[in-house]
Symmetry: D2
Subunit: 452 residues, 4 copies
């Protein structure tokens, strides 16, 4: 019985009840209840019989949930009440002992920590899959030339492998970020009670060990007020999503007729309802499109937590939908990126042709002058003037005659033509982390190590 | 048959297909298909028999949708394909004519415009309901005194009616905003085809009239690239949500023991899982919590549209979930706010006691000095010194003795005590829009006019 | 003198004082003070001598501000205090009468409304400039062919003029949005006092007329609590910024070697510090980059207002920097877009070559079959099969032989080759709003009308 | 000389040039140039004389910058050009050698990493200051009772020290977050050149050691495309800002007359322009208001990076203003929070009175029944009924007579009155992390350890 004399308004219930989405926490809620019950038993707070009856009922509920036979009812309000209701149906009045020395405030924080931890781990696994797909693609296209771009202008040629590996290192940072999220979930809220601790002699450390936490939240008020780990997940997911959006954007670009560098496989494309010839890289577009959604969840949850007085407030129920949708979005995007990369076909000729554009070698001509003693800034000026001369007269740099070169610098001789002709521009970028094959192979080695 | 030789990857479909959420567009999709078919018939693009068969099939689908008997299948990809599939099942091969002179690009833009228009209207209706609830509450509490706050410090007393009416004027601006959203949906995209117009002699003006649009989108490229009206809805909803969050925040505050100004009815409160005495204003907290969610949708959809080359890109599929969730959130919050306001009980004594705090009358003392010729800035200084003297000695302003007053200004006489004693501070705020009863009644009159 | 006995902490002042940014409100603050003073005089609240002395001092301050001779001092706290301080320096003690019947709360709201109105007008003027630049560019490139894209895949050819005009209609909606912002600023806050109205018999309607407001804010509490019009500006600016980001993104794309459709003029490009050959479309990139900044301001200010109890709270000081930066960003971007568009050079040959790609005509072949009675969906299948056949065998659609066509449909005859050869695909898109020249000229006519 | 024949448009320069804000990077730019020059010398890429002349000039520039004598000119475009320009003025043509084997792309990424690292460290220092201020405040108010709240309803009493320490643990997580930001900056971009590596035999490891980096960025493309560490800073700052906003919100609340728990010192308050009696907790309000601003920067920069093709794009120039403002905002807020906490005065009596409200002891009555064997859920029901009985009849729980208790449960005897009377509710919350004094002292011990 409640202290209220009036039933809840249906509109209020529609707004207030979380069972429509927090049913996803059921496995975690059961797991924590089992650990909680065992601890209550060991501490003598409930009897051994109680423990065994509650364990049996909780295992029964777990089976029903796993088999998707569990019936979440609209009137259950939330997943915690649904499970306690069912435990009581299965075990009788002893079910009412489940909530001893516990509040929904520490309970839901614990569920959220467990859920977040599980999906921080899942994100890491999915990120590694994508890294493997990219490493494999880099290996398959080790010495394929393509233009490197700045400002979407051809700047200097690189190997496709080098370009693909750039994403591997972005994702390696995402791994670190999600690993930090895991750490952020590692302090057990359970035992904080409603906010002040509980009136029983509980053993939080034991529950923490049982549930795989590194320790307990040090302050009961903070324990129930804290959703930092959800924010951490959302921040990590937003940045990972932004990385995927850059990958998606590049595949969209490369799939255009104008670039013509890549073609996604039929399994990852869709057609048009009206234009029979179309092959659209929809998956790449959606990778591109999803990042703002995750960033939106981050800013929204920051907004929810903003200015919220301690301790638990109902506002914090909003954490769930933001997290759940971010989890689903990110995991789907990572899986899709892996699949798409595995099936993508690159066009060696189109890429090589684009990379053979001569202007990107201008830096190399400037560096030739540097080696001959001219300060770089002056070399830059000399070569810029040569470029202007060539562009203005509709010629390539190699079309400039020796006497024309001489007008700009007396340091320019036959070597000028050799530098431009050599196509050695990639291999000369042999500084650490550069695009020369030797350096790319070093990178591949390190990436493989990282992936174990 | 498609031009592809490989089936779609299931992960791709999970990412790509929108049927899981865009089924909500079904009624709008059917409505536009009916208008489209009728126009095709009138223009002689399809035959009269085709029209009647398609109409019949579409009406059949409408019935199934209305009765919730329509089966949306995962393999349908999207609502448009689902409906065309069903039309073809019902009508046979003629169903294939439905998509004549139309593309999914202009079709989905039209569905979205129709959906947005309907919910911009629904928002206006729900806002008016809340305005009515607030006006009624203002009428019930016309002359109840309460403190007005700045910086959450008691500043000057006001009538509760005046305070409640402040929300009415906020909501009146929301009405204008949603009315502008309606206008923003009023240019028909249909007929733009994939992006360039269609190869048939269509009559877009007729379709526009048929579907209640004010005119047609002037440029076919813009027609399929445009989602401004969704952004407009989200912006309007975000601001309306922020208004509701302020209302929610105040009710949370007023429901605290410390304020004790208000109590939500049992039908709009919930209890605690562990603390039997608790009565929590959950609905008010959730009103407070939902605004960032809507703002998050706005910023996310801006992010989706950001830097997107024309015309249609798959990224734009993201518009739907952002809009749908914003619509559901706002409509639920508005309904909840109305219900909560109708049932809320204010505590006249607590409010009046708080409003009788004497310090808020300090401005009135300063204004007394103004009337006696002292520049306001000097009056402010005199009264600040009196306040400091009172606070420092633990007294009220009326406790200061005439000789003490005289130390600060020779303009302070018996009138000083009258101003402080009179409790006339509310009625003296008789400037237009002020809190005097006469002015509040003027406001009520205008609010009633606005609500028709 | 203040009621406080301790000076403010310098860190507090650094956080609290707004003079470092709100000095920009000075012209508006002076304007409203002049109107306020005149009204006080007419109502007999201050004497005629006071009015003339205050007016003279205010005009003096105005001159100093205009000539950038006005000294804003760090210790001034805010622009209002700076101006009142200077008025008092110039006019003597009568300066202390300036703040009669006014509070900083209604004063700052009024300044913000005046500032927002002025910049909503400035935005409209700048938008019109850009529309004019686009219309002029459309006129210069009326019948230049280019591919229209969906999913960044060539879809159907269009005229460049048609594509440029798409932006004109986006901007036309921005005009409407900023016009609504103007309307949202049109209710005068001044006269609301701190929150409850004032103790004097003021004439707010007169001040409203004097300052160009349509009316007065109906409720004094709402008047000082309201920043909706700032949110409205930010929402309008965010959407306009997103439009500009799409334009910027397309120019970046078109400036790539791969597209080669456009080249920004030297005046709107920059070079590389290391690669002398580079010509980077930096302005286009920055147009692309600025939209999220404005959306960020919107979401931030929504966050500030979220859950804020009425009436004025110091939090609202945050409105200024968000608005000011958005105003500066948008006005600069609009001016830059106009300048860039005026100087951009398109490459007619590259665009035409890209537009002559034959596959985009596939829809036209399908529509040929429609005219011969086949349901569109079946036509789509037939043509998709032809496309697959061509792609698989490395041929163009016109390379398919009549006997091959016959395998797919007996409705395909010589007309098939004519449709593909004709390059009439643009002119056949003659539906209203389509890309045919006649329709583009209609659009141009309407755009010119809109621009007066 | 550049390859361009036309000067830049002034509007373009206003949009493009970053010198107006990136001058803040000057110290970092000089530091990296010194390390770069030394490496170039050691590797024999430039001569020993060049090194010494460049070092001398750079030191000269450093002095000018430190003494604020350095003249940043509008035409400098950016800080890198300004410094190179000045180096060349001081050292002559050898200044042109500074940019050998370097690009602005890797240079600016390195500046940003150095700046971010420095301010991640500064944030940690400022956070520790605030933690110390809170620990000291907790020590001063160790056993002061106050209500703990959920849903802003009094729930269970706690000690003020326990409440203040909750913020210490939030801030401890912020420390970890900023420490991770430091790690995220620890891979040197310099040496990546424009994007592909450089044509010289550089020693990036040496530069990394020299500048305090842990290693080098493994991939040159990623090195110049990466701004993750800025996003990491913004995410950490947003969450820290949200923590501060909760602290600010509580101080605002506690400073109200209704709560009356706290009063900020005069040094941290401000008055009213019109109400002489007002003492406003402006600093607390601004702490509350600033969090959305930082979250706005995060979402904006995610928006900038979203969908950006590799490698460097001008869009990335937006990273600076977002970061700089977030740094300034956060550092100011942290300093202000420390100062405000140091000076705040709590009202022991008001807090204790609020904490003595009897209803919060209801859980303790329920737990009494649990100890007597009743399942918790039933105990909850019994006590809820008692609460209802008391509330309905306007009495306190202790006013209920034994015979009334007996109607609800035969387990309720004299102990009922003892539990309610005892005020032992705080000390009974003796579970780990709970509010009992012993547990709070444990916490204090751990907090002191953490702060070294």
């Amino acid at each position: 019985m409640s202290r209220f004399s009036e039933p809840q308004d249906p509109t209020f219930q529609a707004l207030n009840n979380s069972i429509a989405f927090d049913w996803r926490l059921a496995p975690y809620d059961i797991e924590q209840s089992l650990a909680h019950v065992r601890m209550l038993g060991r501490q003598g707070i409930i009897g051994a019989d109680d423990v065994s009856e509650l364990e049996q009922a909780l295992e029964g509920v777990r089976e029903e949930v796993t088999a998707e036979r569990f019936e979440f009812r609209p009137e259950d309000e939330d997943v915690h009440m649904a499970i306690e209701r069912r435990v009581t149906e299965l075990a009788g009045p002893v079910g009412g002992k489940l909530h001893t020395a516990r509040s929904r405030n520490d309970q839901v924080a614990t569920d959220m920590a467990l859920f977040t931890r599980a999906h921080a781990q899942a994100a890491q696994a999915a990120i590694k899959d994508l890294m493997r797909a990219l490493v494999a693609a880099a290996e398959r296209h080790l010495d394929w030339r393509m233009p490197g771009y700045t400002h979407l202008q051809r700047a200097q040629p690189v190997y496709l492998s080098h370009h693909l590996l750039a994403y591997v290192w972005m994702l390696a940072r995402d791994l670190e970020r999600f690993s930090a999220v895991e750490t952020a979930t590692a302090r057990l809220p359970l035992g904080a009670g409603a906010l002040a601790g509980v009136n029983f002699d509980t053993d939080r450390q034991a529950v923490a060990r049982d549930l795989g936490f590194a320790g307990v939240a040090e302050n009961s008020i903070d324990a129930v007020s804290n959703r930092d780990f959800v924010l951490d997940y959302l921040a990590a997911a937003a940045t990972c999503g932004t990385h995927l959006s850059r990958l998606g954007a590049e595949i969209v670009l490369w799939s255009s007729s104008e670039f013509g560098f890549a073609e996604v496989s039929d399994a990852w494309a869709s057609g048009s309802s009206i234009m029979p010839q179309k092959k659209n890289p929809d998956a790449a577009e959606l990778l591109r499109a999803k990042a703002p959604r995750i960033a939106g969840h981050f800013v929204a949850l920051q907004g929810v937590m903003h200015a919220l007085p301690l301790t638990y407030n109902k506002d914090m129920q909003e954490d769930k939908e933001h997290l759940f949708d971010a989890v689903d979005t990110l995991e789907l995007c990572l899986a899709a990126a892996s699949g798409m990369i595995e099936g993508i076909a690159f066009d060696r000729e189109r890429m090589a042709a684009a990379a053979s554009d001569e202007f990107p070698a201008a830096t190399d001509v400037a560096d030739l002058l540097v080696r001959r003693g001219l300060p770089f800034r002056e070399c830059h000026g000399v070569v810029a003037a040569l470029v202007k001369r060539a562009v203005d007269s509709g010629r390539r740099l190699t079309d400039l005659r020796p006497e024309e070169l001489a007008e700009h610098s007396d340091l320019l001789d036959e070597e000028y033509y050799r530098v431009l002709a050599g196509e050695s521009w990639l291999e000369s970028k042999d500084s650490e982390g550069g695009t020369s094959l030797r350096r790319v192979q070093e990178q591949l080695e390190r990436a493989r190590e990282l992936l174990g």
